[in-house]
């Protein structure tokens, strides 16, 4: 077997056996499964066994005596507040409210409950609102109008393509959620991959194993094998994640429904997700190989790795701005800049899509950066290979790389 492939295989196997890698790879499906499980536990049971809730009211303003059934909520009238309080204490009513005599001029409604709540449950406030509206409008407008006033719009948006046809992707948060989760995971994973690379090279330098390796293979074979080995491990990780996201999404939309059934994957997401993930992995591995080359030990190299490993999070920090201003040229820059590209592309795929030219440029820049980073790393490796002491100054490194 080709020596580069042997190193690739060794590094790949070494990587996928690492505890950190296994945990990061499996944590996604496990957490998602747990999430679905917990939701099932805490969510109310079957909708068919929904109970009606009775709430009381005291009508001091007068005229509020009809429409006492609002969905699952029954409204029970009390003539005095004392009677209502007594009913609340013995549990006849869940809560009660008072419509004061000056309600029409102030709009104030006093609500009394024994529950400690962060906010008024929406079902209750809607029921009270509709009860008041219906009574006030009764006999003045037709019942259909009352209903329409209570629920004035059901906004249905349809996105059209340039040819006027209905677009396949209809937008909305359901479209963003998977790319956003995936982008965050990608960022974490790239950071971990960088640290592993620096750690591995640092260990080999510290143990001098590097000399044995280089008496067998060239620096180019060694670094290419290592970088591609990490890339292969990245591919395994992304496939596990994407497969489990898809399976769990199906599970969630069939069991939980609601928002989950609106989640959809942007077009090309799977293909681009895998391409950017693997390229990102390889780019970060190549950069870290360079850091490993100029560092005397793993501990020496890690702070430098953190510099670009933090840059990877930039698209996530500014994601909320992306949702508000999806057309800013800043996103184009972040899409083409290779370190931020993988995550920016994932986020933009979900929000508004990316023009083809940007994708092509971004991929080309990424591949060129990988080749450049690898070439520089090999060069730095030759120069600083046997430097076991202090890391040289940056000026010296740049001079040395120039002179070769």
């Amino acid at each position: 077997m080709n020596k580069t492939l042997l190193i690739l295989r060794h590094e790949f196997l070494h990587m996928i056996k690492r505890k950190g890698f296994v945990i990061l790879t499996l944590i996604v499906p496990i957490l998602a499964l747990l999430g679905i499980g917990i939701f099932q536990l805490v969510s109310p049971g079957e909708p068919s066994v929904v109970e009606t809730t009775t709430i009381g009211y005291v009508d001091e303003a007068g005229g509020f005596d009809r429409y006492t059934t609002q969905g699952y909520i029954e409204l029970m009238r009390f003539s005095t507040q004392d009677a209502a309080t007594a009913a609340l204490i013995i549990g006849d009513v869940y809560e009660y409210f008072v419509i004061p005599s000056d309600y029409l001029s102030t709009g104030a409604i006093n609500r009394y409950t024994m529950e400690r709540q962060l906010e008024i449950p929406p079902s209750i406030s809607t029921a009270i609102k509709n009860f008041l509206t219906s009574n006030m409008l009764a006999d003045k407008v037709p019942p259909e109008t009352i209903y329409r006033i209570e629920t004035p719009i059901d906004l249905v948006t349809t996105r059209l393509t340039e040819t006027g046809e209905v677009a396949t992707e209809q937008g909305g948060y359901g479209n963003v959620i998977i790319p956003a989760i995936f982008g965050l995971l990608l960022a974490l994973s790239l950071q971990a991959a960088s640290l592993y690379m620096v750690q591995g090279l640092g260990d080999e330098k510290e143990s001098r194993l590097i000399e044995v390796l280089l008496s067998s293979v060239s620096p180019r074979q060694l670094l290419t094998g290592k970088v591609l080995g990490l890339g292969a491990a990245g591919l395994v990780q992304v496939v596990v994640w994407l497969a489990s996201l898809l399976l769990l999404l199906n599970l969630a939309s069939s069991t939980i429904g609601g928002f989950f059934s609106t989640i959809q994957l942007p077009a090309n997401f799977l293909v681009l997700g895998i391409i950017y993930f693997v390229l990102g992995y390889i780019l970060f591995a190549a950069l870290s190989a360079g850091v490993g080359a100029i560092s005397s030990s793993a501990r020496d190299g890690q702070p430098i790795t953190m510099l670009y490993a933090l840059l990877v999070f930039i698209p996530i920090w500014f994601a909320s701005l992306l949702f508000i201003f999806p057309d800013s040229p800043i996103w184009t820059v972040l899409t083409i800049f290779p370190i931020t590209a993988p995550i920016e592309v994932m986020l933009r795929l979900g929000v508004a899509g990316i023009p083809t030219w940007e994708l092509v440029t971004s991929l080309a820049v990424m591949v060129l950066s990988i080749l450049g980073a690898l070439a520089l790393s090999v060069k730095a490796f030759r120069i600083y290979l046997l430097m076991y002491g202090k890391r040289p100054a940056w000026g010296e490194i740049i001079r040395n790389l120039r002179s070769g």
């Binding site: 077997m1 020596k3 042997l6 190193i7 060794h10 070494h14 260990d203 080999e204 510290e206 143990s207 001098r208 194993l209 000399e211 044995v212 390796l213 280089l214 008496s215 067998s216 293979v217 060239s218 030759r382 290979l385 046997l386």
Partner: protein, 297 residues
């Protein structure tokens, strides 16, 4: 074909010239000693032979070729400071590093088993490297160095840190390899090992050749005009002897420039003296080393 040929090699680092116009050769089937004080340039020379470093000028030829991937497969290198993948098992380490030397898994495993048996290490083959003692780790590293049946072996301080049993084991294995026609380069501070094992030596200091050639010839060259003698009875005056140093159990006679040991022996026999020891004093390599290095310093 020579195993190694180094021609006028120069290598400098930022602050100093590590190897300065060095030339030497090592024949196949030869045990060659590379000696010199710390910082003399031994390791740099070895790294250039292993293609880890490129010389600034000059040429290194290994087994008749400039270093390339196929010659690298015929090299075995034991660096001075050792280490293997700590978390990897002994057998996996040996097989992986052998595969990088172009040996397939099956043959590597077979050969590794054979060497582990030979060194009494087969019980530990499924242990992780980090579970081994330092000496055991060193034996494993030695196995890694020879498992691919290299034609040229370069060993930097191979005996450092080994106990007497393992030292003997290693010496025996090196002797076997040499019998098989491998060229072996030993780089060490332990002059007694070099004297014991090597045919020829290169002594370097400050990156330059100080002494180079057949060990016996070099020692003969440094042979002083002194005799080691143990006789019964009073020695008395002997013509041609200018000085006398008494040691425990023997004395050292310093001859003048014109007298040869044979004349002294004849004189003693003619006097009818009982001689227990008569030896032409040959300096140890250590003494030569100290003398040469001291001279340059």
């Amino acid at each position: 074909m020579l195993a190694v040929e180094v021609n006028h090699v120069v290598k400098s680092f930022v602050d100093k010239v590590a190897v300065d116009d060095l030339s030497f050769s090592v024949a196949q089937g030869e045990m060659f000693g590379l000696i010199g004080p710390n910082g003399a340039g031994k390791t740099t020379t070895i790294r250039m032979m292993m293609d880890i470093l490129k010389p600034d000028s000059g040429e290194v030829t290994i087994l008749g070729e400039k270093l390339n991937e196929s010659t690298k497969n015929k090299l075995g290198y034991l660096p001075e400071e050792r280490g293997l993948y700590k978390k990897l098992k002994v057998m996996d380490s040996i097989v992986y590093l052998a595969s990088l030397k172009g040996v397939d898994r099956h043959s590597a495993t077979e050969k590794a088993n054979e060497l582990l048996n030979q060194t009494g290490m087969s019980a530990g083959k499924n242990k992780k490297i980090e579970e081994l003692s330092r000496g055991m780790g060193q034996i494993i590293q030695f196995i890694v160095t020879i498992v691919h049946d290299p034609q040229l072996l370069v060993m930097d301080e191979p005996f450092a840190g080994l106990d007497p049993v393992n030292t003997e084991l290693l010496k025996g294995m090196l002797a076997d390899l040499r019998k098989q026609g491998k060229a072996i380069i030993l780089s060490t501070h332990q002059m007694n090992r070099v004297e014991e094992l090597c045919d020829r030596i290169l002594m370097i200091n400050n990156g330059q050749n100080v002494l180079y050639g057949d060990l016996g010839e070099i020692k003969a060259r440094y042979r002083g005009n002194a005799l080691l003698l143990d006789v019964e009875g009073e020695l008395g005056e002997i013509p041609g002897v200018t000085g006398k140093r008494v040691h425990k159990g023997y004395m050292e006679l310093i001859l003048d420039g014109k007298t040869i040991p044979q004349q002294v022996l004849t004189h003693l026999i003619n006097r009818g003296m009982v001689i227990n020891r008569f030896e032409v004093a040959t300096p140890s390599l250590n003494e030569i080393f100290l003398k040469e290095v001291g001279k340059k310093a």
